[in-house]
Point group: C2
Chain length 472, copies 2
Amino acid sequence: MNVEAIHDDLKQHFDEDLENIRQFLRQPSISYTGEGIAETAQAVADLIAGLGGEAGVVQMPGHPIVYGELWQDAPKTLLIYGMYDVMPTDEDGWMAEPFGAEIHDLPGLGPSVICRGAVNTKGPLAAFFTAMQSIRRVEGKLPVNLLFAIEGEEEMGSRSFPAFAQEYAEKLKRADAVLFPFFEQDEAGMPSLVLGTKGMLYVELICTGGEWGGPTDRGIHGSYNAWVKSPVWRLTRALASFVDDDENILVDGFFDDVRPLPAREAALLDEQIDAGRFDAGAFREAYAVRQLKDSDDRRAWHRLFSQPQLNIDGLFAGYTGPETKTVLPHQATAKVDVRMVPDMDPDRVLAGLRAHLDKGGFTDIEIKVYNKYPWSKLSLDEPAVQAMIRTYQGLHGELELWPINPGSAPYYVFERLLGLPYVTGGLGHGSRQHSSNEYCTVAGILEFERSMVTFLDEFTRGPAAPQGEEHE
Amino acid sequence: MNVEAIHDDLKQHFDEDLENIRQFLRQPSISYTGEGIAETAQAVADLIAGLGGEAGVVQMPGHPIVYGELWQDAPKTLLIYGMYDVMPTDEDGWMAEPFGAEIHDLPGLGPSVICRGAVNTKGPLAAFFTAMQSIRRVEGKLPVNLLFAIEGEEEMGSRSFPAFAQEYAEKLKRADAVLFPFFEQDEAGMPSLVLGTKGMLYVELICTGGEWGGPTDRGIHGSYNAWVKSPVWRLTRALASFVDDDENILVDGFFDDVRPLPAREAALLDEQIDAGRFDAGAFREAYAVRQLKDSDDRRAWHRLFSQPQLNIDGLFAGYTGPETKTVLPHQATAKVDVRMVPDMDPDRVLAGLRAHLDKGGFTDIEIKVYNKYPWSKLSLDEPAVQAMIRTYQGLHGELELWPINPGSAPYYVFERLLGLPYVTGGLGHGSRQHSSNEYCTVAGILEFERSMVTFLDEFTRGPAAPQGEEHE
């Protein structure tokens, strides 16, 4: 591919591309309410068809998944994973119409598109298509076969995606790797590349009145606490047994399967610390935290990428409104998430939580599972990973490698179920996902388009020979 | 007074009285929203004026209090305490217009007035006035001087009432006793008389991120639990330290001031138990509780009336909606109420909670006080109490004495601040206060009117001489 010519073409057509991307962003597609889901699924199918591909809207028990193919008889095949759904827009503080895709000049960022989905992730999805159109204009065809699996339930936990992946496994496995196009530059411009994600176990611990005591089906007058035990006292006592004062996790066997980071990745973290990457003071300021758990920066940095977490996301019982209301509640609930690192097994962890409750005599406390999927991990040596590294190095100069995403995503579907390496990437910057005034910068969109072209080139050509040509 | 003639007069005028009471009930007076408060305050003043008294609407920082006097130059004076406000009506399941005061035939209860306020407490308040009108029709004047203090914020915690009582103390102290007119018969027809109320300390325990760690002003991404401690873990560990597995309260000194029940009252409770008053099985069925704290009925019955409680009314932190959202919350809150028996001091109890938290290292957990008022207690020998006992015995035959209301009410204002004995009473039945389809029975209204007449007679005449006349 004549990458330079395509980059020039992208520059020339940018105004037009930007308008097309904004048009796509203006179509609401809120998975929680269903608003615009059907229309947006069709719009994605149209984008694939517009590239010359074939696409269909696959009906699933939840929202449909758009499956598409653009077969070019190329030696390599890339599966484009994406999502066309977005979060609701009911937060306070929007400076513009949430689906208006207006361009505002943001302090320190320049002209930016304000829109739900601008960064997460309809912005990069649409910009991937405009980048591909540029390749077609210049080259006539793409250097790679593309498969598409674009879901509409990511914001609801990708419920249908594993079943879809299983059903379409034969087709999807033709890919050499998976790409999730995303604006990966942070506010300071540093692009990052993660080599995996922690697994996720999200449960509710629910204590309801039952054989042990407590009201069983509705709150009763608080004065009857003289006679009747409380599920709230019971749940708080159960919860308190899970960690010590320093939040060390006390569940038997919890750490048994935790594997140390690969030496190469541990060394990377050390380099980052030595280079001053972890500024605890800046973090504390940005996140309004006065004191960290660990005063040793190196230990803290390693911990984020190598240790599991046990966190209470939510807690509720009884009367939670303003002022005073007395009641003896019949139920108390904690929302708890466990983030798992290699080689933790979600089912073993779940069994460990159950055993911990049972050991404390809390056999009645129900564990309701909402999400349960394993960690996933890639090697630095994966060709797709190396292609993205070269893309960042070539276009931007530097990048940051993270051994694992401290958050979670169900990428195990690619890695384990389909046996495919995956990479999330692209230049460009946006932020405030799930918040008001979600944005992406206008300049970043062009950078993203350029990076997608370069990535396809790097991915299809493979690593440069020692004497090979240099890329821009 | 010719009580028999007045009772006859009440019977003759009942249709008219019932219509007047329903008319009063139809006037909304929701203290939380302010709807109809001004109009209803004026309506109460009009009722007092209609009896020949003088009344004024006293403006307070919250809703106004109606103060009135009906001076008859009688030897005894009674202060009528009441409330003209009601709860909102936004519950599901109303079978009729919430302020329609329609009459419906309720299974097992007969014709009943369905209306917000029917029992709590605009129904008995209005019926008190119709009863007084009957005395005036038959006797020309009342046998007692009446003072009135009718507030409009009871459902919001009687916020202005203590200040009003202090301001009007000179006037109010002329009373010999306080009467709170109320339908005191339960569904089975048994009237009860309580000899006091537990005190109330209602607080929020709030754990916010601060010097100890934790996010200080907003939730942050759950994955940062690797670096940042959680106010939720901290609060649950603090709460768990307050009670043991059997909910025995572990706060140092909590029981130091708890006084045993007076022997006469303890004996009353034993009599009630021996008479089969406490049916643990029926209670468990009615309240959907499978097991009580105490399998010994006598101990449980005594406990309700003689022991303090420490109850969690509400608990909340982080994300409490459906499904999954991950967050490391910056705050966790527990709503806690303490019900105090004699001779517990609210300030000492509050200091004890503070000391308990401090001892556990939780010096940062804030205690926000919402309500703090002491218990109050009456002697069985109080003339007003004895007059009500004779009223129930004379009109109904039997009654149940409770040493203390296991719930709470700020009657200390009368007992301590004004030095006045008080009695809550009257025949009649209603229920579902604070719920949909609040009702009082039509037959009970007439019984209530009769009981108010008899009570005034008993209260003004004092105990019968051994050879004295019998009352109906």
